[in-house]
């Protein structure tokens, strides 16, 4: 009871700006024009992908061979492919999968990379083994590894979760586990640089616990590079997924994703350019908007800009 009143009090007085951290961050974020534009585009894409199918109700897998290779029309705003499937419906359906895969894989890679990077940067004794592990993963040839993982787990996951969810888990896991190494290296470098600064020494000598130092002082200072990794990671994950699907290691072929639509459309570039244009545009816009958002978030989170 007391809690609510205590917290309610400041918000009431908040007509004049009061500097709560969240508000301050939002203010900083808004100051970054590109970030705001990126956020708007990103929200638009997410909304389109998740709400769009309720407005444009054509099934993405409905084949109508008589209507193949059509240009944009009222019935098919993005045209149709060589089997007569509606491209708009496919781009929307593909977006849901691509975005989900991209984000989930990015988060996994980011978590692993940050964990390994901070640990090896901060604790000197862990540095050697962890960095050698990173080298090991960097040296692993991706494709044979994927083949082995797929061979070992595909049927088990398929029977446990069904073909689609099973493959989703597998792909997210595979992309995440094979793309955290660069983040780890960058984070380690940054941690090493931050660690030697006076405020860390001060925090240490004041008797602060190690994990508190990492969370309160180290992480905010290396957040900028993590954010950059994250934005690059989404793009890489979307592209890797499409490469996997192309090799037949990913989702079933009648399961549209942006990358697969792009690959499938490449041969038809002259005939129906929209087959390449829309999925390509969707991937680029997503990556670009996420990049700008990352840029803005980094500015907003940077302790040095906060002081201003």
């Amino acid at each position: 009871m007391t809690d609510t009143t205590l917290q309610a009090a400041p918000t009431v007085r908040d007509e004049t700006p009061v500097r709560t951290p969240m508000r301050e961050m939002w203010r900083q974020f808004r100051a970054h024009k590109g970030g705001v534009a990126g956020l708007a585009v990103f929200i638009f894409i997410v909304l389109a992908v998740y709400v769009g199918p309720y407005i444009h109700t054509v099934a993405p897998n409905a084949i109508n061979i008589r209507d193949k290779n059509q240009g944009p029309s009222f019935a098919h705003p993005f045209g149709t492919d060589n089997l007569g499937k509606d491209m708009l419906a496919q781009v929307l359906a593909g977006g849901r999968i691509s975005l989900a895969v991209g984000f989930a894989a990015m988060l996994l890679a980011l978590f692993l990379g940050t964990l390994v990077g901070v640990l090896s940067g901060y604790f000197r004794r862990a540095d050697g083994p962890l960095m050698r592990l990173t080298d090991l993963f960097l040296a692993l040839p991706l494709l044979p590894l994927l083949l082995v993982i797929l061979m070992l787990f595909r049927d088990t996951l398929r029977s446990a979760f069904g073909p689609e969810t099973g493959i989703f888990i597998l792909i997210v896991f595979v992309i995440g586990i094979t793309s955290w190494m660069h983040t780890a290296r960058i984070v380690r470098g940054d941690v090493l640089a931050v660690k030697s600064q006076e405020f860390i020494v001060a925090a240490k000598s004041s008797g602060m616990r190690e994990h508190r130092i990492i969370i309160r002082h180290i992480l905010p200072n290396v957040l900028s590079s993590i954010m950059v990794s994250a934005t690059l990671g989404i793009a890489a994950a979307i592209i890797t997924e499409s490469a996997l699907s192309f090799l037949g290691l990913g989702f079933p072929s009648d399961f549209p994703t942006w990358g697969r639509l792009l690959y499938d459309g490449a041969n038809f570039l002259q005939l129906t350019p929209s087959r390449v244009l829309w999925p390509g545009l969707a991937i680029s816009l997503t990556v670009l908007s996420v990049n700008y958002m990352g840029d803005a978030i980094r500015d907003a989170l940077d302790p040095r800009t906060l002081k201003r």
């Binding site: 060589n82 090799l247 037949g248 072929s253 499938d264």
Partner: protein, 569 residues
């Protein structure tokens, strides 16, 4: 003096004009540029059975006889085809005698003799040699040189159809002098011989970069003085089917690109550029869907898709197999993926004409959803709450696998939609062609292991006689762990009557009788639903408009008559 000069110049001009009119001079047409979108790794077809290696090497080394564009045998380095009528093939079917053309020379100027032919047999059958074309010499007991221009081949058992050793692009003659130290395990080590074989063909290898570029030049000792018309050939490897076709048809950078396996509408946009043309020939390739007679359930572990796993829970029902076939509209599949290079078929042996059956065309070639539904209703497969038919807890839902290729994926989707109309569900899966056809016994995704309910791919048989091919569906040819998954009976079909009929075929010499038996065997497979034949596929290659003299051949190498190729004047 001046007069003499004019006279000479005039004479030179006359010579130049006359030669260009007749274009009957070796090397008059300059360079020929070829693009293979799969690169060539060796010029020795005995070390790699890949089509690209066989085709590239067929410009250099030649067989005694080969198949022409109609699938008929023509003598090549031999003077005639040995038959029982001309006495070349013994009445007891145990031996045959080849007469070699006289005065044949290797490209290094030495004589081509019967010893080279004998050596070729020894080379490919040497112990531990790993010869890729060994099957061509199956049943051959001995090969001997009777005199420098006569070769006698003897067989272990009577061979009703003896034309496989030394016949066709897969069984060319190599020079004994060049390969004499390359027998058995030493074969792959002879890099120089394998990359630059001495041959009797119209071209010789000048430079060989494995998996990249090969340059050829005209063979100075070729048996026809005015051929080949091209002085040199550049064969570039790599890329993909679409870009290779584009390089010939649209940009005109190359004269000939092999295997234009691209969607028909894409080829049409390329053809609109007016730089090239497509040539199509039909051999024996059939795209088919195999139906698994055994149970591929993953929970069976190592036993899955073998006889020990037991019959398939739903595909072992003949009504289901028939209904799956009835539901398919082949015309739509061809329209979407094959265009001119595909014909609907219900046969696994679609050619040559005398062995192609028409018995099942009536019911099988046309889509009949109604009949398929009726068949399933009568067999007790009733639609469940999700629209998928089921009986006793078994759903008609199939894992459908094939290799990665945009045409195949499109076909998969079409078939899935057609099957959905009769209440059958399909889960699509595709594996990279190098894995799917790779034959690695450790991989679960090979077409031999068939860890799926249905699978689709193309297969064909060499030459024009289907006996060996039809023997692939014998009971004991099933792939299983016991034989390292090497069998060719992929659907795991087993019928004692079929086995008996194949035995009869192997003892029949009369060609008409053989054709009749082949048709019966082919019909049996279609009627019992060992597979669903979909498309009789043609070979389709792109050529520059300026190129003439081409005879597309599906029975032998596509460059079998490259000596006759020339530029249009």
């Amino acid at each position: 003096m001046k007069k003499l000069k004019i006279l000479l110049a005039g004479a030179a001009a006359i010579v130049a004009v006359s030669s260009s009119l007749a274009h009957a001079e070796r090397g008059a047409d300059g360079e020929l540029k070829i693009l293979f979108w799969q690169a060539v790794s060796t010029m020795n077809p005995f070390l790699s059975a890949g089509t690209k290696e066989v085709y590239a090497s067929s410009m250099v080394i030649e067989p005694l006889a080969r198949y022409d564009e109609k699938g008929e045998l023509v003598p090549w380095l031999a003077t005639e085809i040995p038959t029982i009528e001309n006495g070349g093939f013994a009445e007891d079917m145990l031996s045959m005698t080849w007469k070699l053309k006289p005065d044949l020379k290797w490209s290094d100027g030495t004589d081509f003799t019967a010893d080279d032919v004998v050596f070729t047999w020894k080379y490919c059958t040497a112990p531990d040699g790993g010869c890729a074309q060994r099957a061509q010499y199956e049943g051959v007991k001995n090969v001997e040189a009777v005199d420098p221009h006569t070769v006698k081949v003897t067989f272990e058992d009577p061979k009703p159809y003896p034309y496989s050793a030394f016949v066709g692009a897969q069984s060319p003659i190599i020079q004994a002098a060049q390969f004499k130290d390359c027998l058995g395990t030493k074969a792959p080590g002879c890099t120089d011989a394998n990359f630059k074989p001495v041959g009797t063909g119209p071209f010789v290898v000048k430079d060989f970069k494995p998996n990249d570029v090969i340059t050829f030049e005209a063979n100075p000792n070729y048996r026809e003085a005015d051929k080949p018309a091209f002085a040199s050939v550049t064969l570039k490897g790599g890329g993909d089917a679409a870009s290779a076709a584009r390089a010939v048809l649209e940009t005109g950078e190359y004269d000939y690109a092999w295997n234009a396996q691209v969607e028909p509408e894409v080829l049409e946009t390329m053809l609109a550029a007016g730089k090239g043309r497509l040539e199509i020939s039909f051999g024996t390739q059939v795209e088919r869907i195999n139906l698994n007679f055994t149970n591929p359930d993953p929970s069976l572990g190592d036993k899955r898709s073998t006889v020990e796993a037991g019959p398939h829970p739903s595909l072992s029902d003949p009504a289901v197999r028939r209904a799956l076939s009835l539901a398919i509209d082949r015309d739509i599949i061809i329209e979407a993926g094959y265009g001119q290079s595909g014909k609907p078929t219900c046969n696994i042996v679609p050619a040559p004409e005398n062995v192609a059956s028409t018995k099942n065309d009536e019911w099988c070639l046309k889509q009949d959803i109604e009949a398929a539904n009726k068949l399933l209703d009568e067999a007790g497969w009733m639609p469940g709450p999700d629209g998928i038919r089921q009986k006793d807890g078994v759903r008609l839902s199939y894992l459908f696998q094939t290799s990665t290729n945009s045409v195949r994926q499109a076909t998969q989707e079409l078939v899935k939609a057609m099957w959905a109309e009769i209440g059958v569900d399909a889960e699509l899966r595709n594996a990279s062609a190098s894995v799917f056809f790779g034959g690695d016994p450790a991989s679960p995704d090979t077409f031999q292991k068939f860890y799926a309910d249905v699978e689709m791919y193309t297969n064909n048989f060499d030459g024009t006689d289907p006996e060996k091919y039809l023997a692939e569906w014998l009971c004991d040819k099933m792939p299983s762990p016991a034989n390292g998954w090497q069998g060719q009976n992929i659907p795991r079909y087993c019928n004692p009557d079929y086995d008996k009929l194949v035995g009869e075929l192997s003892k029949t010499a009369d060609l008409e009788k053989r054709a009749e038996l082949s048709k019966q065997l082919n019909d049996m497979l279609t009627e019992e639903g060992a597979h669903i034949p979909l498309v009789h596929r043609g070979d389709q290659s792109s050529f520059a408009l300026s190129l003439d003299g081409i005879k597309m051949n599906s029975w032998d190498s596509q460059v079998w008559n490259i000596a006759d190729w020339h530029r249009k004047k």
